[in-house]
């Protein structure tokens, strides 16, 4: 006990000179007048976030701002906190963060706000009081609508379809399925959802489930996967059953994990937001927040090359998800 309190005070004493030093760099950093934006991914080795960064760099270049890109090498919430604390000390103007751990990072982001840094989140939100805006890549309705609209178009708005989900209790997936069901009831009376099967986020289980669905529902026209491992899993089942093209596969996933099946014509379309645009928008929003052109309560945001985007509450919406198809999938490498 004694020993630990001694260590504590020692740590505090050691930290004092550093706090002083940090203050100095902060004032020094603000002088050159260039906006400094820090961009935090969940993991900087992940191709998804590397693609985000590409968009962020484009936005920073457009704005004449300096972009700092740093994040954990692998998904690591503690490391995210450390990096944010570092940015607070060195005095950046804006932080755009994708949160690995909502509660965990929120504390650090609140500290950043207290230090006068503008905070936006993208991809994965923090608690609402820890940031000004969340750059929302897709709403539940947006994803559900895009998946069903694509599937419906492929099968002529008529016939049976089935859904592969992660598991029956996954909140995200259930919200998307609900959106699909609502859309179907409103817009596609001739479509019929025959079954929803969980794949436990396993590609192989998705394949087995799809094999069974194809056998049990001979009139099945399309399979929609609302979890990313389910898309190639469903595609492999359709391919092995010799039903390529006859049964359409649509799902939410990454282009790189589906490229082969899309090119073979087994999977017709993979839905995802344009990841590069997400990074671009996060930086644009952060900068606008810093120069005062974006204020709480706004209903619209002018996002440069992305045009005018809708703001719902404190969410800036990236817009309709993008469909990767045979024609365009080669241009994407994440």
């Amino acid at each position: 006990m004694k020993r630990s309190s001694f260590l504590c005070s020692l740590a505090v004493l050691c930290a004092v000179p550093f706090i002083g030093a940090c203050k100095k760099t902060e004032t020094g950093g603000a002088k050159d007048g260039k906006l400094t934006i820090a961009f935090l991914p969940k993991s900087k080795g992940n191709q998804y976030f590397v693609t985000c960064e590409r968009g962020a760099r484009a936005a920073a270049k457009e704005l004449g701002a300096e972009l700092l890109f740093d994040g954990p090498t692998n998904s690591d919430p503690a490391k995210q906190n450390e990096i944010v604390e570092g940015w607070i000390s060195s005095g950046v103007d804006v932080i755009a963060a994708a949160c690995e751990n909502k509660e965990g990072l929120s504390t650090a982001l609140r500290n950043a706000q207290k230090a006068g840094i503008k905070v936006v989140t993208y991809d994965a939100d923090a608690l609402p009081d820890a940031r000004s805006f969340f750059v929302n890549q897709a709403t539940e309705k947006g994803i559900g609508d895009a998946l069903l609209d694509n599937a419906a178009k492929l099968i002529g708005e008529e016939g049976e379809f089935a859904i592969i989900t992660a598991n029956l209790t996954a909140a995200n997936q259930n919200a998307w399925i609900k959106a699909i069901e609502t859309r179907q009831a409103e817009k596609y009376p001739k479509l019929k959802l025959v079954d929803i099967k969980p794949c436990d986020d396993l590609k192989d289980k998705a394949q087995q489930e799809t094999t069974n669905l194809l056998g049990a529902h001979p009139n099945l026209k399309a399979v929609i996967s609302v979890c990313s491992p389910g898309v190639p899993g469903a595609a492999e089942a359709v391919k092995q059953a010799g039903k390529t093209g006859a049964v359409k596969v649509v799902g939410l996933g990454l282009p790189s994990e589906n490229k082969a099946y899309v090119k073979e014509g087994v999977t017709q379309s993979v839905i995802l937001w344009k990841v590069e645009d997400l990074g671009y928008l996060a930086i644009k929003a952060g900068a606008a927040l810093a120069d005062g052109s974006l204020k709480p309560g706004a209903t619209e945001f002018d996002a440069g090359k992305l045009g005018k985007l809708k703001v719902e509450g404190d969410n800036i919406l990236l817009g309709t998800p993008f469909a990767f198809t045979k024609e365009n999938i080669d241009q994407f490498d994440f």
């Binding site: 590609k203 094999t211 056998g215 491992p229 059953a241 994990e257 082969a260």
Partner: protein
Amino acid sequence: MMRKYSREIIVAIALILLMLALAAYAPAYFDPQPLLSRFTSQAPALVAAIGITLVIIIRQIDISIGAQFSMCAVVAGVAAAAGMPLPVAVLAAVLTGAVMGAFNGLLVAWLGLPSIVVTLATMVTWNEALRLWQQGRLMNLPAGIQWFGLSQSAGQGIVIGLSVVLLIAFAWGMRNLALGRYVYATGTDAEAARLAGINPRWMTFGVFVLTGALAGLAAVLNMVQSPQVQPNAGDGLELKVIAAAVVGGVAITGGRGNLWGVLLGLLLLVNVNPALTYFHQPPYWERAIQGLVILLAVVADGLQRGKKVKHA
């Protein structure tokens, strides 16, 4: 005879009843293509189940088998993606599995640590290592890996054929080879086995190594079924194969059980889910029914043991 194989007979009857119900109400279940696909996709689980059966007979447990499977799949995938020929990838996977098994075996056999704790620790370790290494992303394999570079039906034939050959070989060996009998003897009473000249430590170690190697082989048989490797492909495999062994009559207290029972147990458990799909029932029932089957098996085990004690 009837008494000795009572469990196997009960499971076989349950399986036959399920098949009859399917034949009556959903004959499409027996269409050749989906049937063949179903068998092929469960073949790797059968290979892993051989290993877990040996482990349970020798009175240990290995819950890291799913993690070993994932690790071996990734190692084989990385080797294949680096352009190495398939046999090298297969060897790498089997060796990786054997090394992981040896690690479990060392800790259990020589340090005398409980296998449930050791393999829980290695399970978490391998899984987390994979998460850090692969970030959960699917790995795309080069052409020529899927179905061993052959046609789909030839590939499926090899996968099923290899698993069945392994099953027959191990079932025969466990009954007819001295080593097989030693596994039973060690599982029944390690001290008695030692006095009879068997080295229980080496037996236990060997069984863990073999189980790891079989997990590696299973991972390869799974990898060749698609052009991609998922780094957590073995998630939940441990539950599946342990359940198959228990349902198939392998005593969780060691010393008793045979591989044909395990085959029946696996067939019964893995047919529950497709049967529900073909009966157009919601998937909510899958886990509940599988759980009930396992529970019945354990209760039957308990009753059987109780009877034996009374007789003695």
